[in-house]
Amino acid sequence: NAGVTQTPKFRVLKTGQSMTLLCAQDMNHEYMYWYRQDPGMGLRLIHYSVGEGTTAKGEVPDGYNVSRLKKQNFLLGLESAAPSQTSVYFCASSNFAGVVSRQFFGPGTRLTVL
């Protein structure tokens, strides 16, 4: 099992460009999440999904959109990138089991917006 994978690993964008980050999991997990990691701020939840076809906003959703067309994939889109979106983005997934389940993380995508 590959677990949680993310594509791409690195990306540099110019302000105003758009891009999509892909997250894929092969563990048949119901829940998927997108976080951003910034120095001194820990991980902050951008959007999450509790199942195929559903998405919900997290703590910092502005400037991002997501889609969960297939259970195994969770896409994060930046329509018009801004320098404030320079960050490391992590995807995670978890089971529908118990009150709070362990989250499995991807390797991260390092995004720089110039």
Partner: protein, 111 residues
Amino acid sequence: AQRVTQPEKLLSVFKGAPVELKCNYSYSGSPELFWYVQYSRQRLQLLLRHISRESIKGFTADLNKGETSFHLKKPFAQEEDSAMYYCALPAGSGSARQLTFGSGTQLTVLP
């Protein structure tokens, strides 16, 4: 609102010394708390969760409801313990599968 506070951004200890990474929380109800770890160039992974009451890699953490703390402890630190550590708890009773993370503590174990 649920909140996790990790007061130390950086923590350095010598190999063989005890280490304690602090985590304080605010939560209504009985929280389920986690410690996640990120080693250099690796992905974030679960270290331990309080509900399991387990010891992983020599680390333990006890939930203290009176002090609202979930400090991570290890009696004898090793160089391979150097990593970023995050404390986390559920974001809310209505969205129990989300986690709120603290800002993290970078632990460096010196030789």
